[in-house]
Amino acid sequence: MSENTEDSEITVRPELRELPERRESLWLLILGPLIWSAHFLLSYITAAVWCAKVAGRTGSLSCARLAIAVFTLLALSGIGLTAWGAWRRHKYGRATVPHDLNTAADRHRFLGFATLLLCGLSFVGTAYVALGIVFFQSCE
């Protein structure tokens, strides 16, 4: 709201000083799903190009599987890191869910919790996609 009100709020509750809006971002909220998307596309493109241009339609997946395994490790670590940061934001201060108070702190906690949940989904989604390389050994 107005600067004066915000200022007086900050004097009363010092925690608000660290939580200005400009430090928040909706991009962080979707970082987990973005990593899932990147992993998905990279895995698909790697397999498609490998089978079309390198190994041929009946060839072995060999190196492509290894590459996808590396992508998966990187993606899962990235999602894990994002989730860890999100967990810390979710746990900020003393309040618990549903994070529905009209304060900067609850907005901060809410974004953290939502990010955390999305990381959970992205983690499972990435692991699902990676299962393909466990079972498929050739391009057929």
């Binding site: 549903p98 989604g125 391009c139």
Partner: protein, 843 residues
Amino acid sequence: MTDMSHQNQIPKNEEERRAQEARLAKPWEAPPGWRYWSAVNNTEVGLWYTVGAFIFFLFAGVLALLMRTQLSVPGNDFLSAETYNQFFTLHGSIMMFLFGVPIFEAFSIMILPQILGARDLPFPRLSAYGFWCFVIGGIFVCGSVFFDAAPRGGWFMYPPLTTKYQEGIGADIWLLGLSFIEIASIAAAVELIVGVLKTRPPGMRINMIPLYAWYVLVVAGMILFAFPPLIAGDLLLEMERAFDWPFFDPDRGGDPLFWQHLFWIFGHPEVYIIFLPAIALVAMIVPTFAQRPIVGYTWVVLAAVGTGFVSFGLWVHHMYTTGLPGISLSFFSAASEAVAIPTGVQIFCFLATALAGKFVRNVAMLFVTGALAIFVIGGLTGVMVAVAPFDFQVHDTYFVVAHLHYVLIGGVLFPVSAGLYYFYPMVTGKTLSEKTGQVAFWFMFIGFNVAFMPMHLSGLLGMPRRVFTYMDAPGYDILNMTSTVGAYVLAAGFACLVYEVVRPKKNQPYAKRNPWNAGTLEWMAEMPAKPWGARTIPLVKSRYPLWDQPNFLDDVDNGRFYLPDAEEGKRETMISTSIDAVPIQCLRVPGPTFKTFWAAMFTGGFFIFATYKWYTAAMISAALALAAILYWLWTGTAKIPEKREKHVGLGMTLPLYGSGSQSVGWWAMFITMVADVTAFLGLVFGYFFYWTVNEDFPPASASGPGFGWPLLAAGILLGSWIMTVLARRWNRQARSGAFYSALVTAIVFATAGIAALAAGPWLADMDPVSHVYPATVWILVIWTALHLGLGVIMQLYCMARRFAGRMTFEYDIDIQNVTLYWHFMAITVLVTTAVIGGFPLLT
């Protein structure tokens, strides 16, 4: 921003309050008489849009009944094969493009401002333009069936069927008529995203927004990434049909599978684009009738955002039988299973809310319950067909028809019917009859299941889709007759609903205010609603302000919140920051005009004339459309206000003008260009797709654009971009001479750059008809050149605005937005030149 010494605007007595209301009502009134059709306000345009979408829905429904009549007995000759093909193509296309997506946009344009306590969305004229485009395109596509000229290649228009084996203009009508509507959809998406992010009332932080707004944000974002690939595909397919450029012709290096990729990159998210908004209605209805806050707000947000992403990883599950490598299928199968997780989560949240609360029984809740029951069955068969080996068995059979109707009717039609019952009083001030609603529901629910449940079996028996008749095989006849009977029962139910909606209600008293005792802002409205939408823009402190904030309605009515008055007689609403909803601007929104109508007519003219290959008329129409749009922008946007700031009540003063990222126009430009770049990337994807499917690409024998011309073009065009950026800076520094000379240089560079870009393929005599390689190079060059041409018009526009005094060094929205456009041009130029000039060097 704040000026505490200023008197606030709370009316002191009844007389003052009346005077305020009179001043406020005046600018917001709908125009009288025939000028009513020049209205642009969300309440009018949203209503027309909704009615329009329902009329198209009824039309497609009648087509479905005629098809079911044909299929009632084996070997029937009620419809010829030819007519049947037109009917099923139109049925699918209309339901998807003229009902599914538009009904979301229509509902959202109508109710989103009310849900956010805003007076209107930031670009009402853009909504009106989108609506008129939708009507013109819709009538054109639907009307074709009366001239036996309708498209008949299925709603997915697969080549080579639509390029080699179908005479007539049916496919062109589909490609051009629907491209036109896709543009309207993107326009609405831009409007809705900016609406959710920037027009929230003070206090409505991101953790407080109604769930409907979350879904709108996600779905509009999905439209930005889903529709552009289809627009790119439409462009390629139309180029093949009209000019024989061989994008999908394997004899000349093309590949019909590329169309399938582009179509389904659009087509699968599309299913969620129409499902999520309908489920968003459920997210508003359930808490109201449970009389308690939603259980698991954040989990529903997870579901909306998660589904939005994962739905983009499913497209190949429509292409399981095209012979892609098993490993590729496995990725898409995994994602198709994963999407069930967020979808399930939100359903559990709704059930938990309903069970934890009071559960008021009425027609809206009946439709919600029916929706969930039907949708869950569709979801389960969805998990079945996501498994590739199962899909191999049922692909292209009635099992898939059953699955998709369970998903779409359970996931869209039933929630929309619930929404109709729920929101009807908000729009008209009157409630719909419970009794008729119950009859309608039971007819629809029973009819639907009788019609579509047997299709699972006919599909498993092997009955193929999209064939106008079937042989007299055991089991087929009884199952099909049952389906037909069910379809008529479903239609009868829907007819009851339509009757209840349109029946005259003159003698029926108005409903009481907030008839459902809901907690969200759209129910602040009086019955009947006043033209201003929100009497004042409230300060929000809860997710359900009508339940939790004491004296809320009284404060709203008595002008104790923001913008209670319209002293200057202008339409105004508040713009706030995207996360914490801190007010940053008092936005003047434009009023009624016919300019948008004419702009839409001429835009429509371009697409319609092009269908008949009347290219001169099409070009004239395109030029008129451009002129109409420029006139609309010149007279109606980025107006310099008569004063710098305005007192908006409660001791707050806000600026009347904001440029750069402070302006809503900048956000709209950014979002539009994201969609534009997505379409461009669809074309770039084509280049690399053809590289993977062809043995040698570029073909060893073919001449290419070389390296020199693209490099030169990139250099000059980036120069134009830099000069535009400098023009913006020098304008800010009030250096007029430098501003004009920078823009003149930018225009010269852009023009020279376009020539250099075209020189590569032109001087190499690349013939786009001969092979897909020259065709792909040319399409990238043409796309880039057309965009640069538009960029030049924008640069000229800025010079003219500055010259006419409509833009100054301080009020500089135009050059800010044009510079943003040029940032995207820089990306487009770099990618195009790197691909056509650089990639051949690597191979």
